[in-house]
């Protein structure tokens, strides 16, 4: 087994969320839920992160930021889209500048429903994300040595 499961470092990005889901993400780090029990650490650096937590429907302005963050994360990596907006654009879906969810910009592995998503659901999503992470790590091992070259 790999150690990815024991030490998933998450990074949180607010892609034009109303802050409802963001507050719930931060709630996971408080003494009540304390995700550090599972080795989950909140980093501010995509290069150190294994799991990207995105809230909000992604708009025209932060679309490229989301892509850059995703590209800077090193493999294996997992994206968790948190909340109704991140899933489909939510209440802002019809807005002229809003993309319809995170998947319109980068591939998403786990969705969390809810407006706002509950902390329990977010923790559950991260744990499910660990399974995907493990799968991706297995696939990475089978690749030829050196892996694919990333720009």
């Amino acid at each position: 087994m790999s150690f990815l499961k024991k030490s998933p470092w998450v990074m949180h990005y607010d892609a034009s969320s109303c802050n409802g889901c963001d507050i719930e993400v931060l709630a996971c780090l408080t003494p009540v839920y304390d995700v550090e029990r599972f080795g989950i650490v909140n980093t501010g650096n995509p290069k150190h992160a294994d799991i990207l937590l995105i809230t909000g429907g992604v708009n025209e302005q932060n679309m490229n930021v989301v892509r850059t963050i995703y590209d800077q994360m090193t493999d294996p990596k997992v994206v968790v889209a948190i909340g109704a907006c991140a899933g489909s654009g939510g209440i802002f879906r019809e807005c002229y500048n809003v993309h319809r969810g995170v998947e319109s910009v980068i591939p998403v592995d786990v969705y969390v429903p809810g407006c706002a998503a509950r902390p329990e659901a977010i923790i559950d999503a991260v744990v499910r994300g660990l399974g995907v992470l493990e799968e991706k790590a297995e696939r990475m091992k089978k690749e030829p040595r050196g892996g694919k070259v990333k720009a």
Binding site: F3, S7, E36, R37, F38, G44, H48, T74
Partner: protein
């Protein structure tokens, strides 16, 4: 422990001890914040995970510098635990730190470069006190060699109380604890605070982590020297107590600015270190 045996034990066991200390640090910090905290082996899980990530480098020289950082930190500890010259150990430590600064300067990233600049300022802040500590030990114990300082049976702490306090001061900088974790903090949620390691990822970050374990054990070895006359059991307990104290400081204080750090640590070096050094110099001037 004599010569090469001590050095070998250090090279083999320091990462284990350092990692465990890191785990204890995280649990104690969590309890201070009324959280449960991670398992004690968490630092090992982190490093093993980082080794499994795909290596991504911004600048290829980075890995060379990071490896040199690890090598020189190991050399530092090997000199120290081998009973060698304490000055030489301090100089090797400086060379190691410089390699980490070079690693942070290598990628053209503003966060990493600011971290490197702050690390240089921190080195400027702690070096004088570190050297004064070594000089104080020399004046009292009559030798720069660690094996002679350990054998000094009259109680180093009794002669060098102020130097010990000054050393604790710079130990906070060296262990990268608040209020002096300017160049790289372990609990950083912003890029700037992650400083030095912003552009390091995967295996190279793991190497930096392991080097920090080695470094922390070396620094606690330095603390041990002050208590060596009490016998190994009490001295190790006292050293651990000092480490717990540093954890408390880490959790109690907010991060300070670099100007304040340099100013206040030079003040500590001048007042606590300088005065104590002058005193012991007059006490032992016949011997010198």
């Amino acid at each position: 422990m004599s010569g090469p045996v001590g050095a070998l034990i250090y090279v083999l066991l320091a990462p284990l001890v350092g990692g465990m200390l890191g785990g204890i640090d995280r649990i104690v910090s969590a309890r201070m914040q009324s959280r449960m905290g991670p398992p004690v082996l968490q630092p090992f899980y982190d490093v093993l995970k980082l080794l499994g990530k795909r290596p991504t480098v911004v600048n290829h020289f980075q890995n060379f510098y990071v490896t040199c950082f690890l090598v020189f930190i190991i050399v530092t500890g090997a000199i120290f635990f081998g009973g060698g010259d304490i000055l030489l150990a301090i100089f090797a430590l400086t060379v190691g730190a410089i390699f980490l600064v070079l690693a942070a300067y290598a990628p053209n990233s503003p966060y990493s470069n600011i971290g490197a600049e702050r690390e240089l300022l921190q080195m400027m802040a702690y070096e004088p006190m570190l050297l004064i500590t070594a000089m104080g030990m020399y004046v009292v114990a009559g030798s720069f060699n660690v094996r002679d300082i350990v054998r000094f049976r009259e109680g180093l702490l009794g002669y060098l109380p102020a130097i010990f306090l000054g050393f604790l001061f710079v130990l906070t900088i060296k262990l990268r604890k608040s209020p002096f974790d300017l160049s790289m903090s372990h609990h950083a949620h912003q890029e700037l605070v992650k400083g030095l390691t912003t552009e390091l990822s995967g295996p190279s970050l793991a190497v930096v982590e392991v080097a920090h374990w080695y470094e922390n054990v070396f620094l606690l070895g330095f603390v041990y020297l002050f208590f060596a006359w009490l016998g190994p059991v009490i001295a190790v307990a006292a050293t651990f107590a000092v480490y717990l104290f540093e954890m408390l400081i880490d959790n109690v204080y907010a991060r300070l600015t670099w100007k304040f750090t340099v100013r206040v640590s030079w003040l500590a070096a001048g007042l606590l270190g300088g005065v104590n050094l002058l005193l012991v110099f007059y006490m032992f001037r016949g011997r010198l």
